[in-house]
Symmetry: D2
Subunit: 359 residues, 4 copies
């Protein structure tokens, strides 16, 4: 029982290897009669393109998307929307030296243990390359959500040891202001840039944290007890390569808070009920409460290093291998659209799901 | 589309409200010919019983479990195993003062927004009472896993600001040594006890962190790209009431580590491949690598306080209400078996799932 | 991967063996705020009770149903509705002579091959006893459908070689007119009764056909290309023990019709579009068209005979065994409520599903 | 909640419209390390190509298949296998006269009712064109089944009123003997050909029945009580356009048989248990018993006629329209590979599923 689909009412099925012919997917359950702006989708895809970021691999992925079904012109018809993004510039020879060894903290070993075979070219199925299609699918979900005034934005709140003082009040406008690292604070950005420069000089890599905020979600999204909204968000976000942690609202900080400080009192303004604080992160009992939904995703540092590393090959023989070619020093900035995409897919799924139970 | 089932090959469907007739569930897909030790299941259920813990509600739930199907004597037959745990000592009158108001950081408001109705007695469906059945189902999963030498153990690694120095090397034996707070370190336990005493005196409550370790899982469990093992663990653990964060292996700490420090080099001992360190937490690319699986769950402080709180009622009118009756100061210690149960269900599900694809 | 759940938005999970403690189930996804009339449910359950039928086993199942969750009084709360029906009058000793042999055309052999064990008492999980709970779940679905003026009725259109001339125009009133065999035509009923009398005298059993009609379903239910409405109806109806065939509308007769005779021309009356004929059985391209939905289910004759039969035991040794006790000569009349229940569950599921995709 | 996926362990998701860019799909859960013979897949696709059949539309679909993922060379890697089949020779202008009217017994009206929009070119999503991809997916399933000596073959057992005397003993060799109508009996074929000639002359169309046999399936496949093997086969086969009925084994004929004649006595030969007759069609209690699995699918006559027909347009105005262009007189012969494909997908799914529950 494989697991390449996510969502129950809006189901996205992903396919594709890093160096296969294409990556892409099928979106099933997308409502009909919605106009799809292909340029918006391409713009979202460009946001994860390494070309736009310092400290990213220099490889330019001039991605285009081809829709294969589900559209009449640019209008959705309610039938499954299949799309593909061709892979370019494959140089299989580049990877021959990796085909028998297990790179540390990559999925080489586990894929081989599971399937008895792996596509070693560029990480194969485990490559972040597949997320190009996730971003495209997420862009579709964003188009659906925007019709309901639901917005999703992410930003970098930490790289290495440098972090924002307060990530809970960043607006969509602030988040999307051009910044080389997608971090809304200029002075923190400068520290991060210095840190990344040093990291690169050392042949090393860095991790970080992305904060994501969803505004406009109506109260009532989420399906307890096992498809709670934050549980589904966690699953989706932890599917992104390199993510090691997820927290909603107060998250791990809640562990050391007292109840009297953590509780969010309800208040009413002109008859509209909201909460005075938002430690809940917009979700209570697994159901959205109408406040901004806020979560964070922790990314480990990039596993591919410029320095030489020790590991073993398929036969358990010790191997030392050198870092080759250009690679990312830190993927967190370009992972922002991926986090947003997965969040958008989950919220859109729950928006559609919430309609089933209404009489 | 409700969401009261979890798992794909081993499917657990949960039912029950805090003050309804019973809580329980159906386990579908449990293999046949396995002997079920009912005493083990009852013992696991007792581990989450408030009676066993200081700083917990004094209510004793002398729970018994009734199996309704799926067993021939104590042998599983491969058919669905339904079971129920009767609720006792329901005093509906106790809750009348809550039926029109929205308690801060409880699910009163969101359930009512979603369903237009809520069972206000003891939290209804959102109550942790339902987890009695989760623990029973998890105990069944543990019986299945034990046949494959897979063990699951959790322990309290943090309460309030007090935490273990190192939670990564705690053995099953250490974790299950009797401790009033399920914390394997005696001096930390003493600090926690003092802190909880002060918290109680202040009419307040506390949160904490549970660390869970799974040993013996074979390499190859997990179904990328969307049913990755840690993603499914996160979803299951975040379904537990009060959990606000999840991390696997290095987790959020990974964000400030460099790649050269974080990477887990592969080594081979007598032909057996393992990793020298385990920042990956036993999972790489969403698939288990044969090392111990380690994750953490952050619990917010208990929302029910002994002090008076401000909130609003259904009509948006401000209300002040007093804490009544005995309640938990900190649920983290008795949540350990719940975390273990959800972990066991997920690992058992993936163990069965992994057999599908094998030729 | 077991398969004891049916439906995607309205999910019914079934449990229970013939001679275990209880049969029952969980309905997940039932909308909130609906009043459940328990007497209606009991009345539906009585319709499948053998006591009410000639040529049925004399065993009286004075079934009662206990709801365990999901209701506040008699109002649904949107949470899972669990219920159980206790099994009575179990006399395990009655079945000892069957425990090692494989009864012809029963599921003894296949259950044992699949699970390595079987509950041989009264057919265990394969017994039609489990359908008591299906009828209860179907009654819940009927309550939901009735709010939308959707009605489901079945009737016996054939027993042995005797059949109705035209089963396509039978009204709900005609179908529910008291008839000992649930057949709306009195003279055909008399022929059937005579035939069943002869069959009983010969120690033999009979099969038949049930026709089921669903009125009031709006156009637009059904989810091509794999969850077509008639495909899901077929799956649900073929889950009923003894059903060997399913057809919608013209069914097998369509094979020998010409297109010019089979096609249903669209007509409009006062702006309302319908079809002049209904060979489509109310479903075109897998989607309801607003006309009456009509399907048929073929039942094989009862496998338990009053005469002696030859078969083999677990070790392949030839065995002759005698029919014992009272049993059904023909189950078709009391299977009518079961067919209706499965149809109601599927239509209710699709009614809820159809809301997901609407913008 | 759309429904374009089928299977649980081997999941096939379908996409594509008749006149869109391509049809195709994703197969998730296909085991790794299996060699895929692309020529076999193309050969299967050719079997449904109208070019090969008399009384079929003259349109030649010179289909090619492109694999986008999941293969390393021609070896499966365990990751999702995406593929596409480009549509050719689209002449959109041909369909303009149909875009406002509802063709009798087509899905024009129901798609428009459901989605508010339809792709009217060649039937859009409801076209049998999509089954090209189903046949490709089914061919993959056949490759998997062949490794376990499971074979699937279908043949035409009825066209119009002409049918085989006995379709239960047709061997794979007999079924695949070249016959213009895929009917293994020469004299019946001649009658069918004559009948189809007359039908064409009258501007009319014909239906028929396909019988499908699966040999070599081990005892134990099928997941009661709702994913019974024959129930899943029925759902899959009724997904095929034009299918109106499904029966397994004795099917509708069982309704008029007595139990003593219908029962299949178990016998043992050299310790191997089988049944003396096979009215069960190889399935008992929803689980395969090791005998040949046999089912039948009834096809209605083609809805597109050469003669003029009356219907209404979107506004309910009466319209008379003429048949245009070349079309199929009878699709039953070229539907044989489609029936086989859906059967192969279901049996392969259950083969994989059966491994989950094994200890």
């Amino acid at each position: 029982m494989a697991g390449n689909s996510i969502g129950k009412a809006l189901v996205f099925t992903s396919f594709g290897e890093s160096h296969g012919p294409a990556t892409g997917g099928i979106i099933d359950g997308f409502p009909s009669l919605i106009t799809i702006d292909k340029n918006f989708i391409l713009a979202e895809m460009t946001r994860r393109n390494p070309a736009g970021y310092p400290f990213s691999t220099g490889r330019t992925e001039a991605d285009d998307i081809e829709f294969l079904s589900g559209l009449s012109g640019d209008i959705t018809t309610g039938t499954p929307i299949a799309f593909l993004i061709r892979n370019h510039a494959q140089q299989p020879g580049d990877y021959d030296h990796l085909k028998d060894l297990y790179r540390p903290s990559h999925a080489d070993f586990t894929y081989e243990q599971k399937y008895g075979i792996r596509d070693y070219r560029g990480g194969g199925r485990s490559s972040a390359r597949a997320t190009a299609a996730w971003v495209a699918a997420g862009a579709m979900a964003k188009i659906l959500l925007a019709r309901h005034d639901i917005r999703v934005w992410g930003f970098v709140s930490q790289i290495g040891p440098f972090r924002l003082n307060d990530d809970t009040t960043v607006t969509m406008e602030e988040a999307t202001t051009t910044s080389p690292l997608s971090c809304p604070d200029q002075s923190v950005t400068e520290e991060m840039l210095k840190f990344l420069e040093q990291t690169r000089a050392a042949g090393d890599t860095a991790g970080g944290v992305i904060t994501c905020i969803i505004s406009g979600a109506p109260a009532g999204l989420g399906e307890p007890v096992f498809d709670k909204l934050h549980a589904d968000l966690a699953k989706a976000v932890l599917s992104i390569p390199s993510v090691k942690g997820f927290e909603v609202g107060s998250g791990f900080a809640a562990a050391s808070m007292t109840g009297s400080r953590h509780n969010d009192p309800f208040i009413a303004t002109d008859g509209l009920i909201s909460t005075a604080t938002n430690h809940s992160g917009g979700i209570q009992g697994g159901i959205s409460n109408g406040m901004d939904i806020l979560f964070r995703a922790a990314f480990k540092p990039v596993s591919t290093l410029a320095m030489s590393q020790h590991t073993v090959d398929r036969n358990g023989r010790p191997v030392t291998f050198e870092g080759k070619g250009r690679h990312d020093i830190c993927v967190v900035p370009r992972a922002v659209p991926i986090v947003e995409a997965m969040a958008a897919l989950i919220v859109a799924d729950h928006l559609l799901r919430s309609r089933c139970g209404k009489e």
